[in-house]
């Protein structure tokens, strides 16, 4: 009797897990579908995405690399502390 009860419950849990997996797959499928259909049916969005990509390229590849290096880059934490301390105590 006990094993029968256990067996029924395991079956129920297994069935629910399968059901949950199916639901999860459906949710991910719907999310992917949302994006694919959304991008496919864009009108003005295509131009906007092009602008965004060009802008991000200019910001992160050109400006960041060639014009805006981190001034303290390459220094250890200790070196940064000493560098800024020297700047602040010698500047007045």
């Amino acid at each position: 009797m006990f094993f029968g009860f256990l067996g029924q419950n395991i079956e129920l849990i297994f069935f629910n897990l399968q059901k949950r997996d199916k639901t999860m797959t459906n949710i991910w499928h719907r999310v992917v579908d949302l994006y694919i259909d959304g991008f496919r049916n864009m009108t003005i969005g295509r131009t906007l995405w092009l602008i965004i990509l060009i802008k991000l390229f200019i910001i992160f590849v050109i400006l960041r690399v060639f014009f805006f290096p981190d001034y303290l880059r390459g220094k250890t934490e200790q070196e940064k502390q000493e560098f800024v301390a020297l700047q602040l105590t010698e500047r007045p």
Partner: protein
């Protein structure tokens, strides 16, 4: 420090921030307006409101796409041009910006996709939730940025650690919920709402002028005008609260914004040079008609002592670090005691003379007048639009459409002028009382800064032209309304 380097670096930062603020207010304002419109659609299921919402969402999307990531450049500038500043405040400034990046940005980015792509894919209720969360995400994002800015105006909740040469956060809530941050949040975000309302009203006026989509235009104007009147009144009330905060924490900014040379009790408010309202400045600054408001000369006179204290604090920092390096604990303790005693005036030690404490008076004075003048105009404008729309005997006239359209740039100018008052008025400070710009700046070649300034000017202007062209095209095409 090279004045040319400081001026060009400041100009570069100002240029980037001002361009960024062209995009942000419309995102904040239009985000809420389109959410209200979708809420109406959710309640009445009228396809007209769905189309109306979709049109304004398109305008929102164009502005969002062009404006996104323009603020990141400000963070590059912190690391390159203002490296001392970045290190000095890193622990405080990093937390709000990190929260902004992780929480708000991802929230905004996730739900914006559902909002644009999900009309036919998700339920009405879920779509409405996504629209609201997009708008709320943008607002939360603004909250953390304004918390960071408020800390620069009124540093609190931290302790300076001379070992790491950094300010370390001691009380997160003192930073995040200080009155300066709360007032600044409502004042700035509501000014964004005003811009959103002005843009919707202005574009609707254009449709009426062209005799197109009358129902759409009038319905949009009704929502925008109610929203705009509420927002512009809130801006006025929070402006009053902001005045009290500034009077307490940045009295020089207030004195410069008023062009007040000599302080007095019962100080008058200058409308324009030569026209004054007696006692009004004292009321605004202290909520007491006989309250004392210090003038520029009074604050300069106090500056000498504070410069002396600041120099003692800087010398103590040097002594402390030298004593630590030598292992002289007694000397380190003595230096630390002196540093703690004078730390509140630390930044004054970098100033050459008390007159350096005075910000550009003319620019601050006139920017304040433009901000408040246009602010009053906007309250009157939205009240008048509502009156005409709801009064049975009044009718919309052609000249009103022109006024409505002109109100769009006026709302932007008011917001920009507000930031000029806030940022130019607090010069020479990068962080109030702790670090002036001449100590915050990196030793760069001024020519490099001039080159990047020019690059930004070209880059942002191209972006702005692109936005205006795409916006104009979208507006000309108009909404796709049901038959």
């Amino acid at each position: 420090m090279n004045i040319e380097l400081i001026d060009w670096s400041r100009a570069q930062f100002a240029l980037t921030a001002m361009y960024h603020w062209l995009f942000v207010p419309l995102t904040l304002g239009l985000g809420i307006i389109m959410s209200i419109m979708e809420t109406i659609y959710h309640h009445n299921s009228d396809a007209f409101w769905k189309s109306t919402t979709q049109f304004w969402q398109k305008i929102f999307g164009i502005n969002f796409a062009i404006g996104v990531a323009t603020g990141i450049i400000l963070e590059f500038e912190f690391g390159t041009n203002w490296s001392n500043y970045s290190w000095f405040v890193g622990d405080i400034f990093g937390a709000p910006l990190a929260i902004e990046g992780i929480l708000a940005f991802f929230m905004e980015a996730t739900f914006v996709a559902v909002m644009f792509f999900g009309w036919e894919k998700v339920s009405k209720r879920f779509h409405l939730t996504a629209t609201w969360l997009t708008a709320i995400g943008a607002t939360i994002s603004a909250w953390w940025i304004l918390v960071a800015n408020s800390w620069m105006q009124h540093p609190t909740g931290m302790e300076f650690n001379p070992d790491t040469v950094r300010n370390e956060m001691m009380d997160f809530f003192a930073v995040a919920l200080q009155p300066t941050a709360i007032v600044k949040f409502f004042h700035s975000v509501m000014s964004g709402w005003v811009v959103g309302a002005a843009v919707v009203t202005g574009i609707s006026c254009w449709f009426l002028l062209k005799q197109r989509h009358a129902r759409f235009a009038v319905s949009s104007m009704k929502v925008a005008a109610i929203f705009g009147l509420f927002a512009s009144l809130t801006v006025a009330f929070t402006g009053d609260a902001s005045g009290i905060e500034v009077a307490k924490q940045q009295p020089m900014k207030l004195a410069a914004a008023e062009g007040l040379r000599q302080g007095s009790e019962g100080a008058a408010f200058s409308i324009v040079p030569g026209i004054e309202i007696p006692k009004m400045l004292s009321i605004l600054a202290t909520h007491d008609s006989n309250g004392y408001v210090p003038g520029i000369n009074d604050l300069v006179a106090e500056g000498g002592k504070r410069i002396e204290n600041g120099r003692k604090a800087i010398a103590a920092l040097g002594d402390y670090r030298a004593a630590k390096a030598e292992g002289n604990d007694a000397a380190a303790v003595a230096a630390r005691k002196q540093l703690d005693e004078y730390m509140s005036d630390f930044g004054y030690g970098y100033l050459q003379r008390p007159e350096d404490l005075v910000p550009p008076i003319g620019l601050t004075y006139w920017a304040f007048r433009i901000m408040t003048g246009f602010g009053c105009y906007l309250i009157a404008f939205f009240a008048a639009v509502l009156l005409v729309l709801y009064h049975k005997k009044l009718k919309l006239q052609k000249w009103m459409y022109v006024v409505g359209f002109i109100t769009i740039p006026i709302s932007y100018i008011a917001g920009q002028a507000g930031w000029i008052v806030a940022e130019v008025g607090r010069q020479p400070w990068a962080i109030q009382d702790l670090l002036p710009v001449n100590a915050a700046i990196s030793r760069l070649n001024p020519t490099n800064v001039k080159i990047t300034f020019s690059l930004f000017l070209i880059f942002f202007t191209i972006l702005l032209i692109a936005e205006i062209r795409i916006l104009c095209k979208a507006v000309k095409n108009g909404p796709e309304l049901p038959d």
